[in-house]
Every structure is written in C-alpha cells, then in structure tokens.
C-alpha cells in the first residue's frame, strides 16, 4: 500500500455534471417535468460513486481508469435508453447492478483463486463452452436472425456472451504453456467447434469476434507467425465457404457494398443508420430531438448511430476515444502481468472489448460488413452487460495481482536495506 494515487475527483465531477444535466434535459421533455428522470439520474450517479468508492477502498490495486470508463460508457447507455424508452432503462439499470456484482466476483475469482490454469479446469471449461453453444443451437430461440438465445427460468440469456469468458480463459491457459503438438491440435479443434457452432447459429458477429481473439492470442502467446498464417488461411477458407454456402452471409456483403440499392429491404437498417449519423451532423440534433426510432435495433446494435444523431459526430469520436483509453489501460495491465497466463488472460479480455467495439461501430458506419453484436457497456442487453462487466472484473483481478506482487517486491527491497 505504499504508493499514493492522484485524486480522480475532478474527472468524476465532470462526468457527474454531464450525466446529471442529460437527465435534467430528459425530464424537461414533458409537461409537467418528469421527476422520474431526475430521480433515475441521481440514483444512477449515486450508485456509480458508491461503487467506485467501495471498489477502490477494498481493492486498492485496481485500475481506476478502466472502472471510470466502463461506468461512463454504461451511463451514456442508460441516458440513451431512458431517452428511447424509460422502461428499458430501468431494466438495463437492473442488469448493470447485477453486472457490478458479477464484476466483483470475477475480480475476486481471478485474484484469489489460482485454479484457472489447471489442466482439469481447462478441460471442464472447454467442454462446458461447447456444450452451452450446442444446447443453444438445439433448444434456443431465435432473435434478429440469430439462434443465440436461451431461455432459463423465464428470462432469456445469450450463452455466446458468457462463453466469451470461457473462450479467453481456455486460450490463455493453453498458450501459457510451452507449445506441444497434441495440446495445440486440441485447442484448434476447440476453436473450430466454437466457430462452427456460432456460424450455424447465424451469430456472425460473435464468430468474427471469437476468430479475431483466437488469432490475436495465438500470435501473442506462441509468437509463431507460421501458425498464425496457417490459421488465417483456415479461417479465410471457412469464411469463403460460408459466403458460398449461406445466403445470409452473401446478403450481408452485398448490402455492405451498396445498402442504397436494397433500401426497402435488407439495406434499410444501414441506410437509416447512415441517415441518422448524417442528420446529427457535427454537433448533433440534441438529446431527445432526433428521430432514432426509425432505425431497427436502435437500442442494441445501432445505438452508436443514435448517439451520433443526438450528441453529434464530435461525441461519437469521443466515444471511440473512450474505448481507446480502455484498450490502452487493458494492455498495460497485460504488460505488467507477472505470469504468462495472467498476461494472456488480460490481453484476451482487452482484445474482446477492442474487437467487439470495432466490429459494431465499423458495421454501423459501413466501414466493414455489418454483423449484429452489442456495443460493449452501452447497448441494451442483460447478458452483454453482465459479461462486459465481468471482463472488467477479470482485468481488475489481474491488476490487483500485479499491484500486490509489486508491493511485495517493494517491501522486500526495503527489508533488504541495511
């Protein structure tokens, strides 16, 4: 506990002012004033500050910037959800609260439990992940063109979200150990099975995300460019095969090339997204003054277009910058890690968030073909929110281990002094 950190009070204050003024604006939309909005905003800010203070107090080694940014992005999400539909914002706030708890559990689990590298645990995780995805395919219900939802106890959840954690943990465990043919083949088989199941579920966004994370961890962990090249060829072949085999993949590519040609049908969503971006212009239409409801999936996949429409291009770029800071902090945690497993686990989580935000923002602005996944921390969705917060928890757990190890080293050095 030797090091003193500079206070983040100023930063938190600015964020608080932004969030509260947004809710005041939202409350002014109706006559008489919607006190619920202000109450919601005050409670949200209160919970954030409380959570920040508590987490900081009990886990002094964590990376505060990651926490602040995750909270900030979640707040932007809640503001937009409330503007779109207060009912959804209340639900999302519930998911966020669960996510905060899940984050603490993930933090503790990574920090205190040293089981994640054990071979038996890896096998169990890998088997469980495949089983979950296979069960979804067999018994799941479909939403938005993808069969990736699973109904348990009356509420639906999306296993491919939770499997992300499993996927990263398994890959980190495999690549943390010396290269071995049998292990590598098993790992390739595991990844192939995962990707195949996701493509069969038509969850192309998740497939892309998993494939990208796999490639990154393979490269970082093994440093074998030949393996990366081989996997790239394999994945490219798979992508081409699915392009030839599946109609929905071809449609995605075609509407990416020219969404305006199919405005009335498949291109509608992208076109409306682009129009929303353009209607916002540099400074935005103003909170509550846009017409985002015309974009399908406005509160999930296309929330970035809604944000740009109402807050403007400048804020959209700022959102991208928030993700960049998050990514840099995540990479720093990986670089400070004391073991290979910690390092790969931290960088795997960082890569997940990176790729996920890149794939969906890039899809919405038509830089790459659109595949429906959520914008981390911002989009509406319980599974997504909880898993994103758990990814933060894992990162923080490793940060805590790093901090603890460094402190122990400092103490040792002081003890050695004559």
């Amino acid at each position: 506990m030797g090091r003193k950190k500079p206070s983040a009070a100023a930063l938190l204050f600015i964020i608080m002012v932004f969030e509260l003024s947004a809710f005041v604006l939202l409350s002014l939309r109706v006559q008489p004033i919607d006190l619920g909005a202000i109450l919601f905003g005050v409670m949200m800010v209160g919970v954030f500050i409380l959570q920040y203070a508590l987490v900081n107090h009990f886990f002094p080694y964590i990376d505060r910037y990651i926490l602040i940014i995750a909270n900030m992005l979640a707040a932007v999400g809640l503001i937009v959800q409330y503007r779109l539909n207060p009912e959804i914002a209340f639900k999302q706030a519930g998911w966020l609260a669960l996510g905060m708890i899940a984050m603490v559990f993930a933090l503790l689990g990574v920090w205190k439990l040293a089981v994640w590298q054990k071979r038996r645990v890896t096998y169990i995780l890998a088997g469980g992940g495949i089983l979950l995805l296979a069960l979804t395919l067999l018994m799941g219900r479909s939403a938005g063109g993808a069969t990736s939802w699973f109904s348990v106890l009356g509420s639906t959840f999306q296993p491919s979200e939770f499997v992300k954690l499993i996927f990263v943990a398994v890959l980190a465990a495999v690549f943390a150990q010396p290269l071995q043919k049998r292990r590598l083949l098993l790992c390739f088989g595991f990844c192939g099975a995962m990707l195949g199941l996701l493509v069969l579920q038509r969850d192309l966004g998740a497939a892309l995300l998993y494939a990208g994370t796999f490639l990154i961890l393979l490269y970082v962990g093994t440093n074998k460019l030949s393996l990366v090249g081989l996997s790239l060829i394999g994945l490219g072949g798979g992508a081409y095969a699915s392009y030839r085999l599946f109609d929905h993949v071809r449609v995605r590519v075609a509407i990416w090339q020219n969404p305006w040609a199919a405005y009335e049908s498949q291109g509608y969503q992208i076109v409306q997204g682009l129009i929303a971006l353009a209607s916002g212009g540099l400074l935005g239409m103003g909170l509550g003054l846009g017409a985002p409801n015309v974009i399908p999936a406005y509160h999930t996949d296309f929330i970035f277009a809604v944000i740009c429409e109402e807050f403007g291009l400048i804020f959209g770029v700022a959102m991208i910058a928030f993700y960049v800071i998050f990514i840099v902090r995540g990479a720093l945690i990986a670089l400070n890690a004391k073991t290979r497993f910690d390092m790969l686990l931290a960088f795997g989580c960082t890569s997940m968030i990176t790729l996920q935000s890149f794939i969906i923002i890039g899809g919405v602005i038509k830089l790459i073909p659109l595949t429906g996944i959520t914008l981390p921390f911002v989009s509406y969705g319980g599974s997504s929110m909880i898993v994103c917060m758990m990814l933060v928890g894992v990162l923080q757990g490793i940060a805590a281990r790093n901090g603890q190890a460094e402190d122990e080293m400092l103490e040792q050095m002081e003890g050695n002094r004559p």
Partner: protein, 469 residues
C-alpha cells in the same frame, strides 16, 4: 515473456490503427456525404420536422418567392401555374416525391437542421415555433419560364449558366409538374418519361455532335499541327465492316479542323478519334468530367459516361458522340462553360445565399473551380471555332443581334429506326466577358440541332440580354 510483451505492443499499435481508421472514416463519410444522406427522401426526419418547424422560403435571385409556408403550415407555391411548372425541377416538392429539387436537397437549411445548438436552444426557450432559413437560389424565374416556354411541345431540357461563377441562371426540364397536382404521378417516380425526373440533371442523353468539343480539344492537345492538318471527307468512311456517315449523306470535301468543326463533319472527327485511340479520348472525356461522380454541394447531378470501345468503328462513332456516350444537359453546359471561361470549369452553383430567421444573410455563394480540362490557349482556339460554327456553319440560327455567339450543334441518333427523329442539341456561349452566359439545350426527337435547338438557344440568349445579363 519478452517476446510476448513485444507482441502485445505490436497488437496494441494495430488496435490503435484500427480505431484511427474508424475515426477517420466516420468523420470523412459524414462530412463528405452527410448532407446527401440527411436530405435523402428516405429520411423520415424531414417529414416529421415539417410538423414542428416552419420551413423557410425558396426565392429566385431577384427575390421572387417560389415557395413559402402559410400560417397553417401548408406549403404555398408561386401563383402562376406556368412559372410553377417551369421551376418545378429546380424547386421540387415538399412531399418527397422528387429527389433532386431544392425542397428536398436543401431541406436541412429550410428546416433548420444546420442551426447551431445556441440557435436551437434560443428557439426552444422562447417557445416560438422553430423556423428554418430561406434559400435564395441563383435562378431567374423570368428567364426560366421563358426558356421553358421556348422548348415548345418537345420533351427536353435547357440550362443557362454564368460561365465565370458557375451560377445556374435557369435550369428547366420539360414536361414539368405542378407541385399542387402531384397525386397523379404517384408510383411513377422511376419511369424515365415521368415529369418528376429532372431532365437537366438526371437525363443522360446521347450527345451526338456536341461531343466534338471534346474530340476537338483532344486534337488541339495532342497534335502540334492540329490547325493546319487537312482531311478529306468523301461522305462515307468505311471502317471494318461498317461505314461512318454524315448527316443527310453530305460530302464536305477537303477541309481543316476549324471548317470541319463548323460544318460538323463526322468523317473528320471519327478519323481524329480513331487516330488518337480510345485511351486518349477517354482520358480527355474524363478531364471534362465524364465517368465522374459529381458531388456538388448545391445539387444532385447524375454522372455522364464515356465507355472505351474495343472495336475501331465504335471508337470512331464514340468520337462523334454516338456509341455509348451519355451526358446530362447540365454537364454539357459545364463543358461549354469551361471552353468559354478560358479552360477553367466552374462548379455549378444553385444556392445564392441563405437568410436566417433574423434576416441575416449567410453562406454566400463562393465560386469554386471544378477543374482545368484544357489550356487557356486551346480554349481560345476552340472559342473561335465555335464562333465560326455560328457565323458560317451549322449553328447559324443561334445568332443574337449585338452579341458574338459561339456554339455547337448536335443531332444525336437515338434509334436504329428511321422514323424516330434524332435528339436536337445546341450548346453555346456569349464571347464577351461582360456577359458571361452559356447555354445548353436538348429537345428529344425534334430533328436536327441546327434547325430545332439553335433557335431555342438564341431565344433564351435574347431574353437573357433583355434582362440585362
């Protein structure tokens, strides 16, 4: 772990590059295409804003109101039905049935989308109904109506531009529509015969001999002795299995480039085109804006196309504006303007300025250069050739007393069928820096350019002179 850490740093750099790409692409696409996307008729915000915002007026350059909003919020157009029809292609309609008019294309100004946050906030707290800006266009409604009437019973288009500034003084498309009577055209928006299609900007016509401007410019550029070379026109020029002919089987005999341009000799220009080759001809056409996606701030202009022929005879035909050559009347007017303006092509401008709610003018027209397709010297030579074509060539009916007019006729074959009359073209300009006017006219299936289109152009220029341009 050193290697792994290095790899993490490399991946982090890749991530940074990805996100930089995201930012640049986002900013680039919104700033470049944003206005086009926002003013798209598919944008439901335009319709929904209309109930909340009082749309601004549309005025012509002299302050004549072309469209306004009455106290009940209904759109009111100018009372004279003929003026309404003549300006329909420029003004458009407020229900979004036409895609290129000012009502749609400038909706972001008219509905105040471009207002600053402060302006919006001010209007919000004062409780006044929000108002958009007024748009003052560059067109002259008197000249436009006159041009529209001169087109007579033919379908077609006419465009008048100031070749020094690019201001569009008139742009008419016949048949026009009456914005009060739109329901009759429902479901007819994609039909190319529909009055809702703005022929001046969206009509892609075979240019015929007006394309010789470009072939002549290429000859001047690539042949040092272009003006002294001579050609012999025997009326028929066999190329492979086909024969390139002149209109009405005329035989021009021995002639030079200037004379060939004045009498519009297909034989000569096809020979030049085949000698230059497809690549050079295509490059020349592209310098003048063919095959280019025009992205102008004030209006939507469809692209013109020049496709490289592989057969030699097709190359010959493409050099005289047949084969697959296609051009819009406004683009043809821009090409003429580039020649008239000593080689500098100006961007077409339709917005003179905007007037905000409090009466301040802003976004004043700033002339912008589109390109320099030919040298000043070659442009001047081409001007002389065009003047000769009017004084003693096919364009003689375009003469205007008191002005030196230069021009080029075109008679574009549009069908193999002998009974289908060709489209008549005329492009021309006034050789006088004090009256920098140029004009392009096309009349569908009217006959020869010299006899049908040239008199219409002359009539338009006379009216422009009368109006003091």
């Amino acid at each position: 772990m050193i290697l792994q850490k290095r790899n993490i740093r490399i991946m982090l750099t890749v991530f940074m590059a990805l996100f930089a790409g995201l930012t640049v692409y986002l900013a680039y696409s919104v700033l470049t295409y944003g206005e086009r996307w926002a003013t798209n008729p598919y944008n439901p915000r335009i319709a929904s804003q209309k109930s909340q915002v009082k749309a601004g007026d549309i005025l012509d350059r002299n302050g004549v109101t072309l469209a306004t909003t009455d106290a009940k919020g209904n759109r009111v157009y100018t009372p004279d039905a003929q003026v309404r029809k003549a300006l329909s292609s420029v003004v458009g309609d407020s229900s979004g049935m036409t895609t290129s008019g000012a009502e749609t294309f400038m909706a972001n100004y008219l509905l105040g989308f471009n207002d600053s946050v402060i302006e919006r906030f001010y209007q919000e707290i004062t409780g006044a109904k929000r108002e958009g800006s007024d748009a003052v266009l560059t067109v002259d409604s008197t000249l436009s109506t006159h041009a529209y009437n001169l087109l007579g019973n033919y379908r077609g288009a006419a465009v008048v531009m100031n070749y020094q500034t690019g201001e569009i003084l008139a742009s008419v498309s016949k048949p026009g529509f009456d914005p009060y009577n739109l329901s009759q055209y429902k479901g007819d928006t994609d039909n190319e015969d529909s009055p809702l299609v703005n022929r001046a900007t969206m009509g892609r016509y075979t240019p015929g001999s007006v394309f010789k401007l470009i072939t002549a410019a290429a000859a001047l550029e690539y042949y040092p002795d272009a003006l002294t070379r001579t050609y012999t026109c025997k009326g028929e020029l066999p190329v492979g299995e086909t024969v390139i002919t002149d209109a009405n089987g005329e035989v021009h005999g021995k002639l030079d480039l200037k004379r060939a341009f004045a009498v519009s000799c297909n034989n000569t220009f096809a020979t030049i085109g085949m000698d230059l080759g497809a690549d050079r001809l295509k490059a020349e056409a592209e310098k003048f804006g063919f095959n280019n996606n025009f992205l102008f701030g004030d209006l939507l202009l469809y692209s013109s196309s020049y496709k490289s022929p592989t057969k030699k005879s097709d190359l010959g035909w493409s050099a005289v504006g047949q084969y697959k050559d296609l051009v819009t009347p406004l683009h043809m007017c821009m090409i003429t303007a580039a020649v008239a303006n000593d080689g500098v092509m100006m961007e077409p401008k339709l917005l003179k300025h905007l007037v905000n709610v409090r009466g301040y003018d802003y976004q004043e027209l700033k002339p912008a250069e589109y390109g320099r397709p030919l040298s000043a010297k070659n442009a001047k030579t081409l001007q002389d050739m065009m003047v000769l074509a009017v004084q003693s060539g096919t364009g003689s009916r375009a003469r205007v007393a008191g002005w030196t007019v230069g021009g080029k006729t075109g008679t574009a074959e549009v069908s193999e069928d002998e009974d289908v009359s060709p489209n008549a073209w005329f492009v021309g300009f006034v050789k006088d820096e004090g009256h920098p006017i140029c004009v392009a006219v096309v009349l569908e299936n009217a006959g020869s350019g010299g006899s049908k289109a040239a008199p219409v152009a002359a009539g338009i220029l006379k009216k422009a002179k009368e109006l003091g341009y």
